[in-house]
Symmetry: C3
Subunit: 138 residues, 3 copies
């Protein structure tokens, strides 16, 4: 039984959805885990993690437009002093989540062919983002 | 400490929400795990997994209507060449998620009385869907 | 390798979002886990768990208003005999989720500075809510 845990920082990114699969895989060595799980945990409340299509760039921009449509510029928002993008960013973070669990099989993430790991950056001018990676398995 | 992992295929289903609890339980033997976790991971970006009411059929059709209301036919979508249902399906997949974690207690899933496992099939004419089941525990 | 599991009941709360981080931490002793994961699982289909800002009260009331805006009073809902708040509560439960995974590091939850654990109570007059806590690690 192994438990491996590391904390990494992702470089600042513009608002929108970004594929971070390669950065995750470069940060942690899964090769000695035959069967297990990887948890990816984002330590922030105005960004998100999710899994979606790893190919077409328009999927990411359509996602950005849809989530902005659902959550931005609500006249009833009262938490506004940190900027117009702040409360929508909190909502998107809870809608999409900040914790992903992906199975490990024979030393590799067992993602589907079209699946990639998305960072949703929901602030306009965010700094770097911290992520905890925890792998467990045999 | 045990780690059990298998991959299964769910038969094709029509667009909508479907209860798959029994299929999951038939596919994996949890009886020797006293305390643990089951992860259910869907290897697709146009379907979803979630937990909801296991009884009334109208909950599933109301869910289908609500998620379609929130995500379908957005005039700003640009990723449209795979069909009108494709980009909404991606959005629903991230909104609902593709990875579930459920506790195992005394050899059984520790779900609430009214909880069932939902497959959200968000495409009109999808094929079978692959799921990885990973159980860990003692 | 340790696996600790307990089930707790949260006292009834009014409709809205509530921070329950302290109640979770008082219920389970993580001090002997150096590296691991905590799963928090809510055994209900009309409430939710998520992670969000642990400070400003207005974030929770804005969240309540946004999720009500997205899910309440849809004219197409047919599952209405349990009250007007019931079907929206089911939808919010799936949108936000009922299962959280948070890394454990050196005997503590490795949450970000501003992260707290939210119970989303989506019914008007709910009773107490049951939660299963499962910690694993070394």
């Amino acid at each position: 039984m192994r438990f491996i845990q590391i904390e990494i920082k992702l470089r600042p990114r513009p608002r929108g959805f970004h594929i971070i699969t390669d950065e995750i895989l470069q940060a942690i060595d899964l090769t000695e885990i035959k069967v297990g799980m990887l948890n990816i945990f984002l330590k922030h409340t105005s960004a998100s993690l999710s899994i979606n299509e790893n190919c077409e760039r328009e999927v990411r921009s359509d996602m950005e437009n849809l989530f902005s449509d659902l959550c931005d510029e609500k006249p009833y928002f009262k938490h506004t002093y940190e900027g117009e993008d702040d409360m929508p960013a909190h909502a998107k973070s809870s809608l999409l989540g900040v914790s992903l669990n992906i199975p490990i099989t024979e030393g590799r993430l067992n993602l589907g062919t079209w699946q990639g790991i998305y960072l949703g950056e929901h602030r306009e001018n965010a700094g770097s983002r911290s992520i905890v990676l925890t792998a467990s398995g045999i």
